[in-house]
């Protein structure tokens, strides 16, 4: 069931708010449009929407935190 295409679809769901909204409106349609198998599409259709939103928010916070720290390190390097 795992393929690079399936992982890419998950990565987009976890990071792209617009893609996530489209998916939650039409789960099977979006999965099929991405070329996923029926088995993969069925597994996505059963996804817990609340858990998906919570995970996406958590990932977004992690990315923001990393960007903040990268900036801090970069400025620190420039100043010292």
């Amino acid at each position: 069931m795992s393929t690079p295409e399936f992982e890419a679809f998950l990565a987009r769901l976890y990071t792209d708010e617009a893609a996530r909204a489209r998916f939650l409106r039409d789960r099977l349609g979006e999965a099929r449009a991405a070329g996923l198998t029926e088995e993969q599409a069925a597994s996505l259709a059963a996804l817990d929407a609340g858990a998906l939103q919570a995970a996406a928010l958590s990932f977004a916070r992690k990315r923001s935190h990393k960007q903040h720290h990268a900036k801090r390190r970069w400025f620190g390097f420039r100043l010292h």
């Binding site: 069931m1 795992s2 393929t3 990565a11 792209d16 996804l47 858990a51």
Partner: protein
């Protein structure tokens, strides 16, 4: 070798750690923080590793993926290991990117036969590139990964049984996933081959609704110490237990007190195992 108890190195904790090294058996350093470090910073880490046991912990290789782990990233990890000479290194059972998209954190992979095979292939690639196999860490998740056909315990057991570097068992991740997905944490520990556990992570998180977020910003909760006691009772090999804290830092004394509590939990587990053996 005896059981060891250590802390995750964080720059914000450096002064407290360095002034209490006699109470900290081992330090775990985030490898990624040094992938592009200045010569001065790298030298400081090398000097530290020469004086005190150091482990390197990578977070961004993306080993639990059907996509082959990037050889350039492995080469950077290999150079870092060559420079620092850590006692061991570790990574996560997670995917972090796919299709050109960086997730920015560790995502739990779909648990199925294909992901087991692909993950083991990546572990072997990493072992070959770095010259030592990584210990692999179970991850926490807020979402039950789609595409899963195998329970988490069985998936972890398969990886642990075939991974040459053994398992880094994060007990807060076990606890969080048990809460988030409604299973018994101990039943997971009874399923995975505990003899393959080399390292243990302890951490704390917070409740968001009816789920636990493994944010490493809080103290280790009581149930995690109970799981540690259980592992110490059923895994006879020496264990290295690392406390992770990524922010909202308390005074160093509070972290050392949590390490002491971990020591007590392991001692209780070892004592229980000894008493079972005598009967």
């Amino acid at each position: 070798m005896a059981d060891r108890f250590g802390l995750g190195w964080r720059d914000d904790l450096a002064a407290g750690i360095l002034s209490n090294l006699h109470r900290i058996d081992v330090l775990e350093v985030i490898a990624d923080d040094y992938f592009h470090a200045s010569a001065k910073k790298l030298r400081a880490l090398r000097d530290l590793a020469a004086q005190h046991p150091v482990l390197l912990h990578a977070v961004s290789l993306g080993m639990a993926s059907t996509i082959a782990v990037d050889e350039k990233r492995l080469a950077v990890m290999a150079r870092l290991c060559d420079a620092v000479r850590p006692q061991a290194w570790s990574e996560h059972l997670a995917f972090v990117r796919a299709g050109g998209i960086e997730i920015g954190h560790m995502a739990s992979p779909p648990r199925n036969a294909a992901s087991i095979d692909a993950t083991l292939a990546n572990i072997h690639r990493a072992a070959h590139a770095v010259g030592a196999a990584p210990a692999m860490e179970n991850v926490a998740s807020l979402i039950d990964p789609p595409g899963s056909t195998i329970a988490e315990a069985a998936w972890l057991a398969s990886i642990a049984s075939h991974s040459p570097g053994g398992l880094l068992l994060d007990l807060h991740n076990v606890y969080s996933n048990a809460v988030n997905f409604g299973y018994d944490a101990r039943s997971l520990l009874e399923t995975i081959p505990l003899q393959h556990v080399r390292f243990i992570h302890l951490a704390g998180g917070k409740w968001i609704g009816n789920r636990i977020l493994d944010d490493h910003l809080h103290d280790v909760p009581g149930p995690v110490y109970e799981l540690l006691r259980f592992v110490a009772e059923h895994a006879p090999q020496p264990l290295t237990v690392i406390l992770e804290r990524d922010g909202a830092y308390p005074p160093i004394g509070a972290l050392l007190a949590q390490l002491d509590r971990a020591r007590l939990a392991v001692a209780e587990g070892r004592k229980a195992a000894y008493e079972h053996a005598r009967v």
